[in-house]
């Protein structure tokens, strides 16, 4: 059992919670590797995927995880979203809630949306990314990938590189890594740095070259072109030269160091194509871990409800 009812952010999770999620995910590896990739664990449970912001990867990962747990799911959002038609979030949620659902998976453009959902339903809520705030299921899949590679998380040195200020990935990964005893360094141009790195308890630097040799994990963030609004960086070319992960930098990394990226990648900007496909890259492992950890999160959170049948 997790110590939280909902999965909204990572700083509410204890080390125990995170370990439980990762261990449970590991036991789903076997399910995902067999011919029939499905267990009846959440049979008859209804899960609503409310994607108020477009998403392909996270949404398909959740949908697969739901199917493999035998849950019934309904996906809403994008152009079908009534929120677009001017209905308030509370009305949308109360309407869906009236149909008696067990869980909401929510992706939203605005910070705090998953929290608002919890105020309008008794169902369990998983945050699939809210604005610049949090993306806890991404953090769990990252931790799973890193732990699987090294066998542990404590004392690993992790650099999170790129558009830190606009990144919910950084916002949820950095605290989760800290909880598990890893050493996190934030790297990005000053115009992309977080307002208060002390909140994460992480040093922040603008020089990737100064820290890259010490790192066990180099985690490249996607530059959110659609979020940049103004001119925070002069050009793709300059960003690639200063902060992009190219083979020259990769060669300076520790022998067993790995590279992660949450996707989708801007090849040639934050990461070069040959780097994305090199032996150090764990990017496809991350995608696989996404299904496993999301299965684990749904299983553990929905399992906590006490309205089941007798033994």
């Amino acid at each position: 059992m997790l110590s939280v009812k909902h999965l909204i952010d990572t700083y509410s999770l204890t080390a125990d919670d995170i370990t439980q999620i990762l261990d449970t995910a590991a036991s789903f590896e076997e399910v995902n590797n067999r011919a029939i990739k499905k267990v009846p664990a959440l049979r008859g449970r209804t899960i609503v995927n409310l994607f108020l912001e477009p998403s392909t990867r996270t949404k398909s990962s959740f949908e697969l995880a739901e199917k493999r747990l035998s849950a019934d799911s309904l996906s809403m959002g994008g152009s079908t979203s009534s929120v677009v038609k001017g209905e308030s979030l509370a009305d949308t949620i109360q309407t869906i809630d009236a149909m008696n659902v067990d869980m909401f998976i929510c992706r939203a453009r605005l910070a705090g949306t998953p929290q608002k959902i919890t105020e309008n339903t008794d169902a369990i809520v998983i945050n699939a990314g809210d604005g610049k705030h949090q993306h806890p299921t991404q953090a769990m899949l990252d931790l799973y990938t890193i732990r699987k590679n090294f066998g542990h998380l404590d004392d690993l040195k992790v650099a999170i590189v790129g558009d830190l200020a606009h990144s919910r990935v950084c916002g949820s990964l950095a605290p989760a890594l800290k909880t598990m005893g890893a050493d996190v360094t934030l790297v990005g141009p000053p115009t992309f740095q977080v307002d208060d790195p002390d909140w994460f308890g992480c040093p922040q630097t603008s020089s990737l070259d100064e820290v890259i040799e010490d790192m066990d994990v180099v985690y490249m963030l996607r530059v959110q072109l659609e979020r940049m609004e103004g001119a925070a960086i002069p050009s793709r070319r300059e960003y690639n030269r200063l902060y992009g992960l190219d083979m020259r930098r990769v060669k300076r990394m520790k022998d067993d160091a790995i590279i992660c990226h949450p996707g989708p990648m801007n090849r040639g900007m934050e990461i070069n194509a040959d780097v994305a496909d090199c032996a150090r890259s764990r990017i496809l492992d991350q995608v696989n871990a996404g299904v496993l950890t999301r299965m684990a999160e749904m299983y553990l959170l929905l399992g906590g409800e006490n309205n089941g049948v007798s033994a």
């Binding site: 910070a111 705090g112 608002k116 705030h133 949090q134 307002d195 208060d196």
Partner: protein
């Protein structure tokens, strides 16, 4: 009709008065202030023992959404809220629809307020036409119709050149320019204080510098133009230092602070994202809050105002980033000041009267109200021991978006007299 207020503890720092008196009101004026007035015929006697009688309170920064947004607040509901909160005067900001940028607009608000027949409403006109920051509003016309001050509150005048023109022009009238200090090129999408809070909650920050730079700019424009300047809703320690320095130089600069910046800070914003705590300027650091409290006590802050900003439920019951800015404040301002500063002994009754009644009248160039014979009978009677629970039912305001919902406060106005009329009677609005 005459009222005899028996055994009130009268506090009026203008007269150095802080003692028990009987006060007789006849018509629109105070007829007598003495120890022991005989009860005559046709007098309604009000026992004021244990209560404080002060010059009528003034809130010189409120938003009554009339005309244009009457679903949030009208002149009448706003006046009811003001009366319930113990105020005899309010100054209304011009960011209505249409903006109050002509004498006609000023006259409309005054007439509507007369119809409500509760408190005095003193319209503040806009500095620029439509508050667009592009061309001068008809400031002289508005002065002649009764505008008490000028402001582009809500945005601030973005261009320094335009602000200079505004202040130059205003300087010919005996009126202040009220500056909403926000450099929008720095605050851009900001919805919460930049720093720990913006990082923790994952939203664009509204940096303190966005306010402080404009305070500095407008103080220098005050020096240049000679136009009296009043800094609206100051929210940072640094901003207050700038004002103190300007005052020390003898510049005609004053400033105000809101109860929410005095009693709340960014740490009060939890991961619940309570949108009633979304303000402009945003709730700042605890250290800022403490510096502002110090400023109110030591006299460097002139006025306490509420920035009463009513919003309908659907404008607040939504995600933080799209929620409207502001909190209502008229009905909690006095209880908060009494509960948090006067009861705790941090602040004297005289100082309370200065920041809530005396100084606002001076800044707005209103006739002073003193508790002496032949002064206008605009008075507030306060029960310092009465308890109020701040819930939705407590409010007369049409909107309920209070940052202080759920609090229990001790000390509240029980009676208000405006021009000798009994507008609040034992806590009930007439």
């Amino acid at each position: 009709m005459a009222f005899l207020l028996k055994s009130a503890h009268v506090v009026d720092p203008q007269l150095g008065l802080d003692d028990i008196r009987d006060v007789l009101i006849e018509g629109k004026e105070i007829k007598a202030v003495e120890k022991g007035i005989e009860c005559g015929e046709d007098m309604e006697v009000i026992d004021c023992s244990g209560k404080y009688l002060v010059p009528g309170l003034v809130d010189m920064h409120v938003h009554f959404r009339d005309p244009g947004f009457e679903y949030k607040e009208t002149m009448e509901t706003g006046a009811r809220a003001a009366t319930h909160g113990g105020f005899t005067d309010v100054a209304t900001m011009p960011n209505t629809d249409p903006v109050i940028d002509t004498g006609t607009g000023v006259r409309y608000q005054i007439d509507r307020a007369h119809a409500a027949n509760l408190c005095h409403v003193r319209p503040i006109g806009s500095l620029t036409r439509g508050q667009k920051g592009e061309a001068l509003a008809e400031i002289g016309d508005m002065v002649m119709e009764g505008a008490c001050a000028f402001s582009d509150d809500g945005h601030g005048v973005q261009s320094a050149g335009m602000m200079r023109t505004c202040m130059d022009y205003v300087s010919q009238f005996d009126r202040v320019a009220i500056a909403h200090c926000e450099d929008e090129s720095l605050t851009v999408h900001g919805v919460i204080n930049e720093g720990r809070a913006s990082t923790r909650l994952g939203m664009f920050g509204w940096p303190a510098l966005g306010e402080e730079m404009e305070i500095y700019r407008d103080i220098e424009l005050c020096r240049l133009t000679g136009c009296p300047l009043h800094i609206a809703h100051i929210s940072t320690a640094k901003g207050l230092e700038l004002v103190k320095a300007a005052k020390a130089e003898g510049l005609p600069v004053t400033c105000e602070v809101t109860p929410h910046h005095l009693f709340l800070n960014e740490e009060d914003i939890s991961s619940v994202y309570d949108t009633n705590l979304k303000m402009n300027p945003p709730l700042r650091l605890k250290s800022d809050m403490e510096a502002l409290v110090e400023g109110v006590i030591d006299g460097s802050i002139d006025c306490v105002v509420t920035d009463h900003a009513p919003h309908a439920q659907h404008e607040k019951d939504c995600e933080w980033e799209i929620a409207f800015f502001g909190t209502i404040g008229l009905e909690t301002s006095l209880p908060l000041m009494l509960n948090n500063l006067v009861r705790t002994g941090k602040m004297s009754w005289s100082r309370l009267v200065e920041v809530m009644a005396v100084r606002p009248r001076e800044v707005l160039r209103l006739r002073p109200v003193r508790i002496e014979v032949s002064s206008r009978a605009d008075l507030t009677l306060i029960d310092p021991a009465s308890e109020v629970t701040v819930d939705a039912d407590y409010f007369e305001s049409l909107s309920k978006n209070s940052a202080f919902l759920g609090q229990t406060l001790v000390g509240v106005a029980t009676d208000v007299f405006v021009d000798g009329r009994h507008t609040l009677k034992d806590g009930i609005v007439a």
